[in-house]
């Protein structure tokens, strides 16, 4: 087990290094000069000083080494576009916003999804099941982009029930301004409802087909007991192992939703940074998000071995 964890951890570091390298060169190769608009009106000397400040006067390879060295100390460099901002200050401002949105979507979507999944499995082949199936397929077929726009137009625009755009900040950052969060949460959460209800229903039906359910019945156990310790426990395995990835995706924000509802989260900022060619921030955010993602996958692997005793770890290989 220790060998397995250690090995996966080293792989994690290697992956991060590769990602950082690839990102650096991809952004360096990007056409366009990030300082062009800011330095256009400046005299020659101060322009050179600007380029020197961000290290953009040096050759690519030298910049690469400097950047990587800085990264080891958590220094990704200053934002080219917004003076004085670094990755840390941006994450501090933006991450909570995206995290709240993501968590609300996740909790709402997964809970309702699981509930619907159980109902569909229990009432399979009835009209209730069919309604849930149809709803899930519909929700999977309408992108959150379209859903967000439609909600915004009708619930906020036409009916004026809820604000069109905006997001609680300041003291309301975590537990206030709920009315701003309803539409963004719905737009993103419906997809999770669809995914998780389908996932759980399939999983339950799969488990119901297994011989051990027959064994449990042949023991004369009560129905709640069979459902709880035999059916649910086994059918939750795919759910539990999928949750972390969903969580990571939620935390890193939703690009479309943040754009539609003008939510000041990290995804919206990432797009902004990309458009403005803000190299150090793009690099920093990519590495940060990738690190989050990889760590979550790493934890999922370990979680897998806990919830499913069948997965044995032998010499570091699953």
């Amino acid at each position: 087990m220790i060998k397995f964890v250690l090995r996966r951890f080293l792989e994690l570091l290697l992956a991060l290094f590769l990602i950082a390298t690839a990102t650096f060169f991809l952004t360096a190769a990007a056409p366009g000069d990030p300082l062009l608009s800011r330095t256009l009106a400046l005299p020659e000397a101060s322009r050179d000083a600007m380029y020197a400040k961000y290290g953009l006067d040096k050759p690519v390879l030298e910049r690469y080494v400097i950047t990587m060295k800085g990264m080891l100390h958590g220094d990704f460099g200053e934002s080219v576009v917004y003076q004085g901002q670094t990755l840390q200050t941006i994450l501090r401002d933006k991450l909570p916003v995206s995290a709240r949105l993501g968590l609300q979507q996740l909790i709402f979507g997964v809970l309702v999804g699981l509930l619907l999944g159980v109902i569909a499995a229990v009432k399979r082949e009835t009209w209730i099941d069919r309604c849930i199936v149809v709803f899930a397929v519909l929700m999977m077929s309408v992108p959150e982009l379209v859903l967000g726009l439609i909600f915004q137009k009708y619930f906020a625009g036409t009916l004026k029930l809820l604000p069109v755009i905006g997001w609680p900040t300041g003291k309301d950052l975590w537990f206030g301004g709920w009315k701003y969060t309803i539409l963004p949460t719905l737009s993103g959460g419906l997809l999770y409802i669809a995914t998780y209800s389908r996932l759980l229903k399939t999983s339950i039906l799969d488990v119901l087909d297994q011989d051990y359910i027959l064994t449990a019945r042949s023991k004369g156990l009560s129905e709640p007991r069979i459902v709880w310790s035999h059916i649910m426990r086994n059918s939750m395995i795919p759910i539990v192992t999928r949750l972390p990835v969903t969580l990571a995706m939620c935390l890193t924000g939703s690009f479309m939703i943040e754009k539609i509802f003008a939510i000041p989260g990290i995804a919206a900022y990432f797009v902004e940074a990309v458009s403005a060619n803000d190299l150090s921030i793009v690099l920093g955010e990519t590495v940060f998000l990738a690190a989050l993602f990889i760590t979550v996958i790493f934890l999922t692997d370990i979680l897998y071995t806990i919830v499913d005793p069948r997965i044995r770890i032998q010499g570091g290989k699953r």
Binding site: E11, A15, L145, V146, G157, V271, S275, A290
Partner: protein, 312 residues
């Protein structure tokens, strides 16, 4: 015990002669065995939802070929006199902010989105199959290294890769293709590898190998036909994903950019005027949703038709 209530007179002596030549009564009693593909196709055809989806997709296919030319308008050049025209006999779905016929533009956009999705899916399947086959066939250290590469690629959120590629290559249809495909083949490669690992243990592949056939030939000739079902399903379920991604990227300004036309761009343009001219948002969004819905339903139907578990 099987009961028999027969009247004695029903029995005649000629009934009691042992027929040593048993001429085919057994064949008459056993139903004709049905081949896998024939059976799958039969099951798919019985599935009304899937068949409807197939018809809808067929109609879409026709429309993306002929749709842009039906009305005979120039859908590229601006015509300010028709700016944001409403729906009418002249402009069936209205005109956009530059006065261009939305009906024609809608089908051009659908065509672009569809072609992008198809090309990406093709790349995904071909690369995934090749990568997976090579991994599975050679095994050992080759498999190990290729698997690590695959793991690193899957570790990065795919949207990030896509965006980074878009930055490096600039906004164009080609860079969008590259960006969408760059990581998408990984799951396919894994599945193909898994399937081949299982199949290569089978006797007929060993027999082929023993008869001196070359590795790649065996993979292509014997193994790939076996995973056709999985690949067909993979195709049906991947296309909606690409359509979504193109729309989303174009919408946030990182995919295609005007003057290109795609569903994502049309939706993005529609959003700008959605309070006054909702038709410009609704129609592209509806086409996107119906197309994806049809693919999803077809995918479900295919899953049921191709999975032997459902064969009862």
């Amino acid at each position: 015990m099987a009961q028999a209530k027969n009247t004695a007179e029903a029995l005649r002596p000629e009934d009691f002669v042992i027929l040593r030549e048993r001429s085919a009564p057994s064949d008459l009693l056993v139903r004709e065995p049905v081949g896998y593909w024939k059976d799958a196709w039969r099951r798919l055809r019985r599935n009304k939802v899937a068949m409807t989806s197939l018809v809808v997709l067929g109609l879409f296919l026709i429309m993306i070929i002929i749709g842009p030319y039906l009305r005979g308008y120039d859908y590229i050049t601006a015509a300010p006199q028709y700016k944001n025209a409403d729906m009418s006999a002249q402009f069936w779905l209205g005109a956009d902010a530059l006065g261009r016929d939305l009906f024609s533009r809608l089908w051009v956009g659908t065509r672009v989105s569809f072609v992008i999705a198809i090309v990406c899916t093709a790349v995904q399947v071909v690369v995934g199959c090749l990568y997976g086959s090579v991994m599975a066939y050679f095994g050992g250290i080759v498999d190990e290294i290729m698997m690590r590469i695959l793991e690193v690629i899957t570790a990065i959120p795919s949207l990030l890769i896509t965006i980074l590629i878009m930055i490096a290559l600039g906004n164009s249809a080609f860079s969008l293709l590259v960006a969408l495909c760059i990581a998408s083949w990984c799951p396919t490669a894994r599945v193909v590898r898994g399937q081949i690992m299982q199949l290569r243990e089978s006797e007929y592949v060993m027999a082929a190998e023993a008869m001196g056939e070359r590795p790649m030939r065996i993979i292509l000739r014997h193994l790939l036909p076996n995973i056709m079902g999985i690949l067909i399903l993979d195709v049906a379920t991947s296309i909606p994903g690409y359509i979504f991604q193109e729309a989303g990227l174009s919408f946030i300004g990182l995919g295609l950019q005007t003057p290109a036309i795609s569903l994502g761009l049309l939706i993005s343009n529609g959003q700008a005027v959605m309070n006054s001219h909702v038709n410009q948002l609704i129609f592209p969004a509806a086409v996107l949703c119906i197309m994806v819905l049809a693919f999803n339903l077809l995918g479900d139907g295919l899953r049921n038709a191709l999975d032997p578990k459902f064969r009862k």
